[in-house]
């Protein structure tokens, strides 16, 4: 399905990012993983792991310099890297809020910006942001996290306009809860209660996520841009 495609996934080492790495590798893409620390868990010959802190402009710039030198182009980017600190706003440390802003929002901006520069030459690209049901459900404790995830939808929508003439689409997938390291940081009862309130009251599976990723990535989706798709009936 992805023969010849070069795919970059941020936050590639764990959770949803790792699922997507495996999916694209299985479907014959060359995959670049950006992670804050060395990714020793994936040794596929078509996988290239770069240590990049997406919240740092210098680090992203250096990472893309390596991508440009090694591959000369880029087809699909998935902005998945994110930090979640769930805490009541009145006691949320400013440092935690900054970290979420830097990784979730600024990181998505920086990676998309550099990706578009590379995609421009081939006049083809797919930028997909991983959003969250928190944007719609606005759970207590997730003020900054939900705000950053709302912001990346808006970011994609504006970039969709700016990049449309280069045949680059920008979309957002708002995922629901899936069994990951990030989920384990939250009280299980709280997550279960949120899931019970969804129109489709179950946790997401990997395939639920990969289905929409494939849709946004498809050659046939060149007319799909500035869209946010939520899973599980969230809207």
């Amino acid at each position: 399905m992805y023969d010849g495609k070069i795919v970059l996934i941020t936050g590639a080492r764990r959770g949803v990012g790792h699922l997507m790495v495996e999916h694209f590798l299985k479907n014959h893409a060359q995959v670049i993983g950006f992670s804050r620390s060395e990714d020793l868990g994936e040794s596929h010959p078509a996988y290239f792991s770069f240590v990049v802190d997406v919240g740092s402009a210098e680090s992203v710039s250096a990472g893309f310099s390596r991508v440009r030198k090694k591959f000369s182009r880029l087809d699909i980017v998935i902005n998945n890297a994110a930090i979640l600190t769930s805490q009541y706003a009145m006691i949320m440390p400013a440092s935690s809020a900054w970290s979420m802003l830097e990784t979730n929002l600024l990181g998505t901006f920086l990676v998309s910006r550099e990706a578009a520069k590379l995609m421009r030459s081939s006049k083809w690209g797919r930028i997909i942001n991983i959003g969250s049901m928190a944007v719609s459900l606005e759970p207590v404790g997730d003020s900054i996290y939900a705000a950053t995830k709302a912001a990346i939808s808006t970011l994609a929508n504006v970039m969709a306009k700016e990049f449309a003439s280069m045949n680059i689409t920008c979309n957002t997938l708002g995922i629901t809860a899936i069994e990951t390291d990030m989920l384990s940081q939250l009280p299980r009862e709280k997550v279960n209660a949120v899931i019970a309130g969804l129109p489709i009251a179950r946790y997401a599976t990997a395939d639920d996520i990969l289905n929409v990723i494939d849709f946004f990535s498809s050659e046939r989706s060149s007319y799909i841009t500035a869209q946010t798709v939520f899973l599980g009936g969230v809207n």
């Binding site: 210098e58 710039s61 250096a62 310099s65 440009r68 030198k69 520069k117 421009r120 700016e162 003439s165």
Partner: protein, 99 residues
């Protein structure tokens, strides 16, 4: 052997010629030292200027193995801005490379 100024000028011309390749034959930019890139008399619309800047940053950064940014606060607060014409842009790039 080309000196630094020649290499930079060549990169600017290359970025503008790349833009010309994307334009119709009756919409070609005349490329030369006085070609105006920004402000009154500019031959580029805003998206075309962005394209030239992006290509130029990449070309110069790769050529000299040094990260160059043409759109930071320093560039945009300069009077006149470095994009007023090709010669001014070359001068600014040489300053950045000398830092």
């Amino acid at each position: 052997m080309n000196n630094k100024a020649d290499i930079v000028m060549e990169a600017i011309y290359k970025a503008l010629n790349t833009l010309n390749e994307e334009r119709s034959t009756d919409d070609q930019i005349v490329v030369g030292p006085e070609t105006c890139l920004f402000g009154e008399g500019s031959v580029l619309d805003s998206l075309s200027l962005v394209s030239v800047i992006v290509d130029l940053e990449t070309l110069v950064s790769d050529q000299f193995d040094k990260s160059i940014s043409l759109t930071d606060d320093k560039a945009m607060s300069r009077d006149p801005v470095p994009f007023v014409n090709v010669t001014a842009l070359k001068t600014y790039l040489l300053e950045l490379l000398a830092e």
